[in-house]
Subunit: 402 residues, 2 copies
């Protein structure tokens, strides 16, 4: 017996993983230094020293105190520390009741989707979008509805969202700083989205006689990875926001799987959503977030992310590519550069780039045509050594230098 | 918007958690030493020192090497270490291809259920059973079919399983050493179950023209917690076995969430099941098992579990209760004693026990009537101090001493 849907999910090749595998093969053939792998989103900055010190401190405690089950929503002192940190940063008044610790961002989004969407519902994503959103939305029995971002700025297009909302819209997922574009949604942009959602909620309340607000899922694994732009605090702009967070990028702990869901407990409806998040976590097989790393979160909740290396890479890459005549979206956050392919077919462009050992990810993986994602969470030498290859690729297409 | 099924899962009270909360309240009222909380299954033996040493060793490595993403099925060297350890113990010839590292036993079972069951299928559990099985089976869209164990020995009743099998039976879950009874299924018992499943598979192959074997899910978090009884290696007795394992009890790491699924890659069908396990893990939001604790598993895979403390508690409790005239199932494994309630209604019995500050769990939580689960993963003083209370409770019911 087999579940064919699960089999297909396991068998379908991830384009990103395929490029990564190809890169490793190619490195073995022609030398690591001659292959320019820009496919991954694995932080190249090591975890800060505070992480090691936190773990060492925990190792001096009785093991059963460190490695035992925590309550399903997380250790109370950890949830309180997270709430207090948010309050310092965003002038809010959260308590531990607003926080549910999770096994990383994927778990945060999966628990939230299963909590707020029912089979047959629709969930809107802003294309280009992180491809796993579709997998998780469909696992919750809902339909993934793609709404194009503004294809120049890659900000949300509120009118397009408005046009896509139906009676079955349960949630909208946004992801800012954005993977794959590096765009950070401006305050005005999120306010415009909030207005669209409020209007839809009001219309729905009038038709159905009771409010069934659309939930805004703000997936924020890249919140701390920014280069000066403001990343607005979404719950302060739209009441029915659930924030999904992870320490994978901010503390460079992607393998340790720890994050949280925030559901501000401002109404009976919000309290019901939090209960459903807990029910989803239980039903999906998440017993608690890893205990030792919950303590790491408590100890490191205010440790700033080290974005200096990413900022240097960003500068190196953007200044060189712009001189060569490439166009790209100004990357305000995350560690991805969204570069316009030099022909309409991004996959064909990537094939051509391969001849120069350049390995970005074609935009088709993210639901749009004509762009590539260049992950610059790499050693700076990779970028430096790749520049002649980018130049030859541009020459090949006859691009005029800027 | 809310998913009412998830809300209900989050809102429904766990009897075990309620008893635990009551115990804590009561301890605050009358003193910790006067309350005898036997409700939990949290290991009282601390994690072995090798765990600490493994973590310390990892902390000397570059952080990105320790805390980075591993491949979804786990780090190759970890999977190989697990396979090699099984081969030494069970005379098998597994490789890393047979092992998928998971976020603990709950994740192991959820990934397996979603891989092998389809909506509308049935999954058989042996009652009494771990109550989360029902939650996870229903999350996979399947129906939980309870089959009573032999109510004297609490071994599997193969004829009862045979009678419960239908065209829609996708899997049978067994759990030995058993939570809640402490029974260990004998080799003969599992062989008899295997024969029933083989017969059903043969009949099904004949009717449907193609084999759709029933999967035997062997959930083994308590494998190492035994007192001399053999725990047979199930895949050597039934080909279509998937083993779900966790280090929560064997290494006393319940909060760290690390385990594995073993699908022996003996056939094309088995390879498809493993692919579906990977697809389920992806779909449920499990990106990889926690990376640091994957390394702990690699380093500690052959560290013996410290069962001496549990063995002493078991001896202390069983010798005293048997003298008082209580009857119970001989506990061959795990750290639970399955005691016959002194009246048919286990909940009423537990209410009476409460008057003596004795807090076991009524068997109704596990799908059967008339018993209680006494978790003896507690400090030995708790057992010693509780004995006069057990005596008074027996006296209350007029039980004749043995």
């Amino acid at each position: 017996m087999i579940n064919e849907q699960m089999y297909a999910r396991g068998a379908e090749s991830s384009v990103i993983r395929e490029i990564f595998s190809y890169a490793n093969e190619r490195k073995a053939q022609i030398g690591t230094e001659n292959v320019f792998d820009f496919s991954l989103g694995n932080p190249s900055v090591p975890a800060p020293d505070e992480v090691r010190r936190s773990i060492e401190r925990s190792l001096t405690l009785p093991p059963e105190q460190v490695h035992g089950y925590t309550p399903a929503p997380g250790a109370p002192e950890v949830r309180s520390a997270v709430a207090a940190s948010l309050n310092r940063r965003f002038n809010t008044s959260y308590t531990m009741a607003d926080i549910f610790m999770t096994v990383g961002a994927a778990a945060s989004v999966c628990c939230t989707l299963n909590a707020v969407a029912c089979p047959g519902d629709e969930v809107i994503v802003i294309a280009p979008y992180f491809p796993e959103y579709r997998v998780w939305i469909e696992m919750a029995g809902a339909t993934c509805v793609e709404v194009l971002a503004n294809q120049e700025t890659f900000q949300i297009d509120p009118a397009a969202v408005a046009a896509a909302i139906t009676e079955r819209t349960a949630a909208v997922i946004i992801d800012s700083p954005n993977n794959p574009t590096g765009a950070v949604y401006s305050r005005a942009n999120i306010e415009a989205l909030a207005a669209v959602l409020e209007d839809a909620n009001a219309a729905r309340a009038q038709r159905l006689g009771h409010p069934q607000p659309i939930v805004l899922i703000s997936d924020e694994p890249y919140r701390e990875i920014t280069y000066g732009a403001e990343v607005p605090w979404v719950p302060s702009l739209y009441e029915h926001t659930v924030v999904c967070y992870s320490y994978s990028k901010s503390l460079s702990l992607p393998g340790e799987r720890v994050g949280w869901v925030l559901v501000p407990q401002v109404s009976e409806g919000a309290r019901r959503v939090m209960t459903a998040v807990a029910g989803a976590a239980r039903s999906l097989g998440f017993v608690c977030a890893p205990a030792l790393f919950q303590r790491v979160v408590m100890d490191c909740v205010d440790v700033p992310s080290d974005v200096a290396a990413y900022a240097r890479n960003r500068e190196l890459l953007t200044s060189a590519l712009s001189k060569m005549g490439y166009t790209y979206v100004e990357p305000d956050g995350a560690f991805y550069l969204w570069v316009r392919a030099l022909e309409p077919d991004a996959e064909a462009f990537c094939e051509k780039a391969k001849a120069y050992e350049l390995l970005p990810v074609p935009s088709n993986s993210f639901g749009v045509e004509g762009w590539v994602r260049v992950g610059y969470c790499v050693a700076p030498e990779v970028i430096e050594r790749s520049l002649p290859a980018w130049q030859r690729l541009a020459d090949d297409y006859g691009v005029t230098q800027a």
